[in-house]
């Protein structure tokens, strides 16, 4: 009976979404306050019903209700409870439900914190959020019902895909979705501004903390995904330019551009049209990401078995959202580029170049990701675009950003002081060159590693110099407002990330070897001894577990236990063993036994030495932190609506305020 209640809850949520999506917009158009007032209660009611449906599905998983098809497909009696909860979003239907739940979380937060927004504007924003919810609820109700029954009820279920049975998996999708869906807020603000016809600067300030928070979540989600791929897929890689990774990376790139464009629009009034366009693109790319993952049109580790109806639905939905918002944009976008004039040497120019690079990078990733589809449509044959395409273009596009980063905060709005910039360039340049020369001795002349050290020091010194300047020149309490701190943290994160990527890419040692028990292999000064394989078992798997003892200078560094697990339905899954460290990871994965009938004999093993690989995720986490800290700035809290309504173009200016 309860699963039917879940279905009913979804239908009720759908009806409330229609109320939330349609009535407030009509109210805002007609100036009808009663209709506008529908937005908040409808949003709250919708959230309650969606949460109810979600909890019913969780309940069904926890209680092994295999009469629900989705539960039977994705769990069984031996699956531990924490993975049964994670299984809720382990496949298509449930992950869509999670998407909608998170959309409701954002909408409720928006409804709660928008009481000080002008009434008409808030009604429009919430209305647009309602329209998005209509699309997704219709999708789940008409094509992907998670509560469909399976009768007669099987005694036991199938299994959750073993690659998803990992702690990282309980965490990665919800956080990633927080990011994806979070861009719907910036999108709703833009559409509301376009609908209103008057693109004031004020809406950008209201939208900024939401964009920063969404971007922070997306960063965390991508970091978690990358870490999960590293630990779970058993190849020791952290990024594969896989279509689905690209799908999350495109909104991230556009989101990063959007954060900076919003800064220009808010502080200087310029680039309004561009900011609007980026908001639309960030959310459209999030939708495209969902489409790419869920429709199975592209081959990927994430692709679920495809159902053409679903693909068509998302494609139509995507066309309506993107087409509709771009049409609205074409009709209503500000025709005259407003804003204060700026010099070539100014913060605006630097941010523009950065924006251009990030947007181009997103376009480049989009082209590479969709090219197989385009090739298919044009009958060019079955094409795939290899990682070297991205590996060549992406660093080239990011190089100008790395070059400009140290100057960012030193550049004044409007017209920058060339002397100060020269000084920064000189100091950061000398530091970078010195560190690069020292590093060259340690890395056996690996150019990539030397470049990584130089680039990272170049950025970090620029960031630290600016932090120092503020420390010296400003009184206590005004030195590091949250917005400034966030920016400095995120930029420092780029430096840490660059070190991690270039050092681990260039200095990693990878050996696939055949080892019999007792045999050694020395990698980067570490002596790996293979002590054989024995059988072991877990709650819902059995495994061949290897023992590898790692020694250095006669001292034991780690005893590692890589596994090759076999799950309920004979799915095989490699569990690598990682000995983590700040400066290096040791990574061991079992390949296969040389003789399938004798698992105690020789095995193929992957042995990796990965220096500085944790810095990649560390840098990502710093960027995430920057996004969140920025979002918390008190300046963004809405106050004095009346005063701002009277003087819409004045925004609080602070000396050297951050971008």
């Amino acid at each position: 009976m309860t699963p039917e209640l879940g279905q009913l809850a979804l239908v009720l949520a759908f009806l409330l979404a229609i109320a939330q999506g349609v009535l407030p917009l009509i109210g805002a158009w007609r100036g009808n306050r009663t209709l506008m007032a529908v937005a908040r209660p409808a949003a709250a009611g919708q959230a309650v019903f969606v949460a109810m449906a979600f909890l019913i599905l969780v309940w069904a998983f926890l209680h092994f209700d295999f009469s629900v098809q989705y539960v039977a497909d994705n769990s069984n009696l031996t699956l531990p409870w924490y993975y049964r909860i994670a299984a809720v979003w382990g496949a298509h239907e449930g992950s869509l439900l999670l998407w909608i739940l998170i959309l409701n979380v954002w909408t409720v937060a928006l409804a709660a914190f928008s009481h000080k927004l002008p009434e008409v504007f808030a009604a429009r924003v919430l209305g647009v959020m309602g329209l998005v919810a209509i699309g997704f609820l219709a999708f789940i109700i008409f094509t992907s019902d998670p509560f469909g029954r399976l009768l007669p009820m099987p005694a036991n279920g199938a299994d959750l895909n073993p690659v998803l049975q990992d702690p990282g998996m309980t965490f990665h999708p919800p956080v990633l979705y927080m990011g994806y869906v979070g861009f719907s807020v910036a999108f709703a603000f833009s559409i509301a501004a376009l609908l209103g016809g008057e693109v004031e600067q004020a809406w950008v300030r209201w939208a900024r903390p939401w964009t920063n928070a969404a971007w922070g979540f997306l960063t965390l989600g991508i970091v978690a995904g990358s870490w999960w791929a590293y630990a779970e897929l058993g190849w020791g890689g952290w990024w594969f330019w896989d279509p689905v990774e690209n799908a999350s990376f495109m909104p991230w790139l556009v989101g990063a551009a959007l954060i900076h464009a919003q800064a220009i629009t808010e502080k200087r009034g310029g680039l309004r049209a561009w900011t609007l366009l980026l908001s639309i693109f960030a959310f459209s790319l999030s939708l495209l990401g969902t489409f790419l993952v869920r429709s199975g049109v592209l081959t990927s580790v994430h692709a679920f078995a495809s159902d053409p109806r679903r693909g068509v639905f998302i494609l139509v939905f995507l066309a309506i959202v993107v087409g509709g918002s771009l049409l609205l944009y074409a009709l209503r976008a500000p025709k005259v580029t407003g804003g204060k004039p700026f010099n070539i040497l100014s913060r605006e120019t630097a941010l523009l170049i950065g924006n251009l690079m990030l947007a181009t990078a997103a376009a480049m990733v989009l082209l590479g990701t969709l090219f197989p589809l385009i090739g298919d449509m044009l009958h060019l044959g079955r094409i795939s675009v290899g990682p070297p395409y991205f590996g060549l273009l992406f660093p080239l596009l990011m190089a100008p950003i790395v070059l400009l980063l140290p100057f960012g905060p030193f550049l004044n709005w409007g017209k920058a002081d060339g002397g100060a910039l020269k000084q920064v360039a000189l100091r950061a340049g000398i530091a970078a060159a010195a560190c690069a020369i020292v590093a060259a001795f340690f890395v056996q002349g690996q150019l990539k590693a030397v470049a990584g050290v130089a680039a990272a020091v170049w950025i970090a010194v620029g960031v630290l110099l600016y932090a120092l300047k503020r420390w010296r020149e400003l009184p206590r309490g005004r030195r590091y407002p949250a917005e400034m701190t966030g920016m400095l943290l995120a930029h420092l994160g780029v430096a840490v990330f660059v070190i991690g990527v270039l050092l681990s890419e260039s200095l990693s040692v990878t050996h696939d070897v055949r080892l019999a028990p007792g045999q050694h292999e020395v990698i980067a000064g570490y002596d790996f001894r293979f002590d054989g394989v024995h059988r072991t078992a877990g709650p819902n798997w059995r495994a061949d577990q290897g023992v590898v003892t790692v020694q250095r200078d006669g001292r034991t560094v780690a005893v590692m236990h890589p596994q090759k697990r076999t799950y309920a339905r004979e799915q095989v899954q490699t569990e690598s063993a990682v000995d983590a460290g700040v400066f290096r990871d040791l990574y061991v994965a079992l390949g296969e036994p040389m003789d399938t009938n004798n698992i105690e004999g020789a095995w193929a093993l992957r042995l990796y030495y990965k220096p500085f690989i944790r810095w990649i995720w560390g840098g990502g986490l710093l960027m995430m932190l920057g996004g969140f800290v920025c979002a918390g700035d008190r300046r963004f809290r809405i106050k004095r609506i009346a005063a701002e309504a009277a003087q819409p173009t004045t925004t609080p200016q602070r000396q050297g305020s951050p971008a």
Binding site: V297, A303, L352, I383, Y389, L397, V572, M594, A604, R606
Partner: protein, 157 residues
């Protein structure tokens, strides 16, 4: 027409953007051309469709009983078949978890005489999933050859 500062600035911006766009597009096209990999099935390769490509991807099923490992290295050889043809493949390294008899695989590599030397081997991701591109390519090869599916099982390389 006199060049006032605003006009001059705009002109500079437009020029910079145009140059950057041209550069980005030409680099992008170059990189795409260098890194496009075509997928062929054994019968397409044997009918000569892959001769112009140095590196390509070979897709098909692993012929049952064809997997042979070397005694003392990581070298492994197996046969990839489609509806009409078979192709011996050589690979050195560790095969993916899901690699086994009668699985669909995609191998990236080049031809060395009549053998295909793979640098990367991917197996399908779960029991029900076959990459769409591989399914289509196999269906196409199947239609071209007009050979019964069963025949593929008996045909030796």
């Amino acid at each position: 027409m006199p060049m006032n500062p605003t006009r001059k600035r705009r002109l500079t911006i437009v020029a910079v953007v145009a140059i950057a766009a041209a550069l980005a597009i030409s680099l992008g096209v170059y990189a795409l051309q260098q890194n496009m990999n075509y997928l062929f099935t054994p019968s397409q390769v044997q009918s000569g469709q892959a001769t112009q490509y140095k590196t390509f991807r070979l897709g098909g099923m692993v012929k049952a009983g064809s997997i042979q490992r070397s005694k003392d290295t990581l070298q492994v050889t197996f046969t990839v078949v489609d509806a009409g043809s078979a192709m011996p493949v050589e690979y050195t390294g560790i095969l993916p978890d899901l690699f086994r008899d009668n699985q669909s695989v995609i191998a990236t590599g080049h031809m060395d005489g009549a053998r295909f030397v793979a640098t990367e081997v991917l197996a399908k991701h779960d029991e029900t999933y076959m990459p769409k591109e591989l399914k289509d390519a196999m269906a196409k090869a199947h239609a071209q050859e007009k050979v019964k599916e069963a025949a593929a099982q008996d045909k030796s390389p």
